[in-house]
């Protein structure tokens, strides 16, 4: 198990190098000058050249990249081009907001999605099942930022129940969490329903029924436990994308998190900030994937025995 974890963490290194190279190349080799943006239109050519020298932007691209990686390995992610703040400090200051949003979003999705999906499968073709599947389909089809806007209209502007923007109290997180949860929730319902339907037809479920197990025991002990495997993957993938992808929702609700930081930094050509936040998210996603794979072992003992083997990632065998 330890060997497996170490191997997976080592596999993260080439991926991180690849990501950092791609993003660095996109940011460096394309038009747009961070120095000009920083100094404004009033700056003279000499000032700009001096500043470029100081920031090391006149070096060849590869030299810049290697220097960045070297510094990053020493824990130095540089200073923001935009406002000179320490990049790592800024990330750490903003990460809790994004993490909170992602955790709340996942909690809402799991606590509602799995039971609803189970009901939908157990009562297949009933009125409840029809309503649930249509609602889930609708939820996958709506833009989350639009859902956010609609909630602001109703709960903040009309009913004055919830604050529209900001992060001061837990109340501020209710609407954003629901907005980011919508897609995940819908995916979880659909996934739980279809895997449950799959499992319900298995022989061991028939055996359990034949030996006279109660409905409750069958659903929880025999069906749900086996149906959870692909569901866990969905939870992991979505948690990862919530950490990195809640950009639009964070912008709508004015949440100072990683997502809104990325949008603003990309637009300002703030390479150090973009690089660090992307790498941060990539590491987070990698770790989450690892946790998901370890969780598999607890849900499905069949997988545990394969951990020593070469192709150990649960994702590959889907």
């Amino acid at each position: 198990m330890i060997k497996f974890i170490i191997k997976r963490l080592l596999m993260l290194i080439p991926v991180l190098l690849g990501i950092s190279f791609i993003i660095f190349a996109i940011m460096s080799l394309t038009p747009g000058d961070p120095v000009r943006m920083k100094l404004g239109d009033g700056a003279t050519e000499e000032e700009i050249t001096a500043m470029r020298d100081e920031m090391g932007l006149n070096d060849p691209f590869l030299v810049q990249y290697v220097r960045y990686v070297k510094n990053a390995l020493h824990g130095d992610f540089g200073k923001s081009y935009r406002n000179n703040v320490d990049v790592f400090g800024e990330l750490m200051a903003r990460f809790p907001n994004t993490l909170r949003l992602a955790v709340f979003g996942i909690l809402i999705s799991v606590l509602i999605g799995i039971p609803v999906g189970v009901i939908s499968a157990v009562k297949q073709y009933s009125a409840a099942d029809n309503i649930i599947t249509i609602l889930a389909l609708l939820m996958t089809s709506l833009p989350s930022f639009w859902l956010g806007l609609m909630m602001i209209l109703l709960f903040a502007n009309k009913l004055h129940l919830l604050p529209a923007t900001g992060v001061d109290t837990w109340k501020h997180f209710i609407m954003p969490s629901i907005a980011v949860a919508a897609t995940t929730l819908a995916t979880l319902i659909r996934m739980t329903r279809s895997t449950m339907l799959d499992v319900i037809r298995q022989d061991y479920v028939r055996t359990a029924k034949a030996k006279g197990a109660s409905d409750r025991a069958i659903v929880f002990r025999h069906e749900l436990r086996n149906a959870l495997l692909p569901v866990i993957t969905v939870i992991g993938v979505n948690f990862g994308s919530l950490l990195g992808g809640a950009m639009i929702a964070e912008t709508v609700f004015a949440i100072p998190g990683l997502g809104s930081l990325m949008v603003a930094s990309v637009r300002a050509k703030d390479t150090p900030m973009v690089m660090a936040s992307v790498l941060f998210v990539a590491v987070a996603v990698g770790v989450i994937n690892l946790i998901v794979d370890i969780l598999y072992a607890y849900v499905d003992p069949r997988i545990k025995s394969q951990y020593g083997a070469h192709k150990a990632s649960g994702r590959d065998r889907k």
């Binding site: 991926v15 940011m27 833009p143 930022f145 279809s194 992808g245 990309v266 637009r267």
Partner: protein, 291 residues
Amino acid sequence: MEQEARRKYKKKSKLKSVWIRFRRNKRALVGMVVLLMLILIAVFANFIVDYDVAISQVMKDRLQTPSAAHWFGTDHLGRDMFARIIYGTRTSLFVGILTIAVAVTFGTIIGAIAGYYGGAVDNILMRFVDVLMAIPSMLLAISVVAALGTGLVNIVIAMSVSQIPRFARIVRASIMSIKGQEFIEAAKAYGASDLRIISKYIIPNALGPIIVQATLTMGTMILTVSSLSFVGLGIQPPSPEWGTMLAEGKDQMRYFPHLVTIPGLAIIVAVLSLNMVGDGLRDALDPRLKN
């Protein structure tokens, strides 16, 4: 001659059986009818309403709620919302189709090469795909747009890059599963080239999953382009696009909710119809998946 006839017959029957299964699915049929209507609206937009109406600013008519003269009301610049929604359909579908076409083409090429040749080629290509997949797609899209600038072509590039891995994986997986089968052996034995085997025998067999994924992804792409436009990195004003309309309307939504409800509903109708068709196609192509 007889062989030719038999092959044609067989091909038709496969398509036919898919259609028969698809037809039985009411939800999929509704989705398809709506989708066809949207396509007709997109293609014949200029017969429905003049493009000028969608972008001409009539200040005396600004911020009107829906009425007989302006079915969907007007926005803060006095532009007719109905005309903008109609032309927005064209933009969204066009961007969606173009993105999918690019992603499918490159994904198929990468996936086919990786799956067919295997070994080191496969390893290198798939690690590259893994890296692309590890970058959040929205972030990749935003970086590419920020780097290349906004504009239709750049947006299509930005969005398709992050979708290539998905298609590469699907194609690779189906190639690996049929690579060892006898009809491939047979084709090799009578001397067919690699290119011919891939394009003639392997890709047609992977077509089902590709079409399903393409339909479902197109829905996602319409959502993505509206999100990009919403943060100002997508289709630029004054071009009518649903996400841009939402962005422009959100400041006044408190007093004029129609500015945000109507474009949002348009997005939902389009994405929903694509999802319904995609779900239906998936069930029809692979009845085993349907429960």
